[in-house]
Amino acid sequence: MFEGLVLFGSSIAGFLTVESILWALGASLIGVVIGALPGLTATMGVALMTTLTLKMPSSQALLVLVCTYVGAIYGGSRSAILLNIPGTPASAASCLDGYALARQGRAGYAMGIATTGSVMGTLIGMFFLALFTPLLGNVALRFGAYEFFWLAAFGVVISGNLTGDDPLKGWMAGFLGLFLATVGQESVYAFERFTFGTRDLAGGLSLVPALVGAFGFAELLLVMRERRPPVELSPVDSVVPKIGDVLKYWRTIVRSGCIGTFIGIIPGVGEDSAAWTSYAAAKRASSEKELFGKGSVEGLMAAETGDNACVPGAIIPVLTLQIPGSAPAAVLMAAMLIHGVRPGPLIMVESPHFVYDIIAMMLFAVIGILIYGLVLTRFLVQVLRVRYQIIVPVIFVLCVVGSFAIASRLFDVWVMLAFGVIGFALRLANYPMAPLVLGLVLGDLLEKSLRRGLVLSDGDVTPFFTRPISAFLCALIVLIVLSRFIRWRPHAHRPV
């Protein structure tokens, strides 16, 4: 307990330099702006910033990425409240009551509530991050190849199940991601697979250009698909919420913070599910149910607390299991690997300070969003007026440069373009992107674990089903899949 506090204190002290504070504030602002612009997501923001921070020292690069991540999830509430368009999918639940409040002439008040909820949510999530990471790290030490194989498979299945409208399409996207991760030399014999004689593919598909394409370029194509009418923003009143309003909903804040964090821990599910689940739980428990959807402060508070609490929650499995809890966390994990940080079960043994570094980074991000939420509201309102015809080419230039910057080769730019077109086509056909990303990230772990497990058991597959944790995870996957198949049956007999 005290050791944790000491490590946390030393982590904060480590970032108390002018340079780090400026990077943190700058990155939080970039995150808020990206999050506020509808169509540009936190995943895209973190992926783009990963390419920008390649040459920075790892601690500062990760500080920038964490602040961008937190800022973007928070920033989505701006357009949700002012435009009734969620800036990121995580803010969709905030539209219901945020925009209703704005239409009542209380847009500033709604943004203040959203800021408070986001700050409280992140703080609760940080608390659980500090509490659970060592515990989960200890459990993860018992994991072997068999358990990691099922965990990777579970991540893809649960992500496909809970993101998007159709679990079947989610699973397909996830397994496509797993397959794409097998392209290039495999790890045992360095045998080239599906490279078609292309030397550039021998090393596999570079993760970051693929992510920049699937999230950056694909999102630009979606944004530009239709000309948007000029935005009509609601007038903004005072953005400072009353302390009494915040204290009145303390139960909602704590409940939503816990729900958001726990949903974050589930691999690949993400912030939007956290927001909706927190919102639904708040509505069930509320004495003002009739206000939900019509401008409920409690509803807005729940949604914003839930989605921001999910951010630290999604980082817990990244740090302990190397399994990301959400799509932006998957990109963050890729960035950690690029910067030589190896998260996983041994993190609390080898570098426990790193966990507290991440928590300290989040604290800086919280300070950033608090400042921007209270001070820069009118600037952010102006940002929403910037035309997409101007933003899109600039972001595409960053996509190109960022993809090239990873290894200074044009092939990565082509990878980005290819994934952009694939991602665009899949989205048009209602395939969610989060499972695809998770598949790409977890493909290596899944393959290595399966082959290592088979080598250890000399080709015997029974340990995959008989070891307690393996059996549990396997049963969970079967249950998830079966539950969805059973649901389809009545639908199948629906009259045409």
């Binding site: 397994f175 000309r227 090239f404 910057a405």
Partner: protein, 150 residues
């Protein structure tokens, strides 16, 4: 839906091709590799899963009997062809063939001008956006982030 039937068939076909390619992949037995360490094992299994899921998607579309094309909320190409031409033209045609700053200037200017048409006042601003983007991005990446530009 009809679209799901077609997609299911495409996924099943893709999965089948992956399974075939994995099955016929060198198993490296001369290096002492067992079947369970063969390079094609994992992609083959994943291809099989994709094949099965594709068949399930197609069967579901058939069983629901909704083969008529349902209107999708996401129909039409809109600006997509023009955006694709401009972006591919920049990334493949311009970058690395002309200096980066010039490529970016041309791309951003053209992009803004095309999509601001027919507003002449906004189109006139396009070169300013192009020059500003080119200058700022080139400076930031080369001088601040120390990243090599294409």
């Amino acid at each position: 839906m009809k679209a799901d039937l077609v997609q299911g068939a495409v996924w099943a076909l893709g999965g089948g091709i992956i399974v075939y390619a994995s099955w016929t992949m060198d198993r490296l037995e001369r290096h002492g590799a067992a079947l369970y360490t063969a390079p094609g094992l994992v992609p083959g299994l994943l291809g099989l899963v994709l094949l099965v899921l594709g068949v399930v998607l197609a069967l579901r579309a058939l069983r629901t009997g909704e083969l008529q094309s349902a209107p999708s909320p996401r129909t039409g190409w809109g600006n997509t062809p023009a955006v694709l031409v401009l972006c591919f033209g920049y990334a493949i045609g311009l970058v690395s063939h002309v200096p980066f700053w010039l490529a970016t200037l041309i791309f951003v200017t053209t992009f803004v001008a095309v999509f601001e048409y027919p507003s002449r006042r906004r189109m006139a601003m396009a070169p300013i956006y192009g020059a500003a983007t080119s200058l700022v991005v080139t400076y930031l990446f080369e001088e601040v982030f120390l990243v090599r530009l294409p």
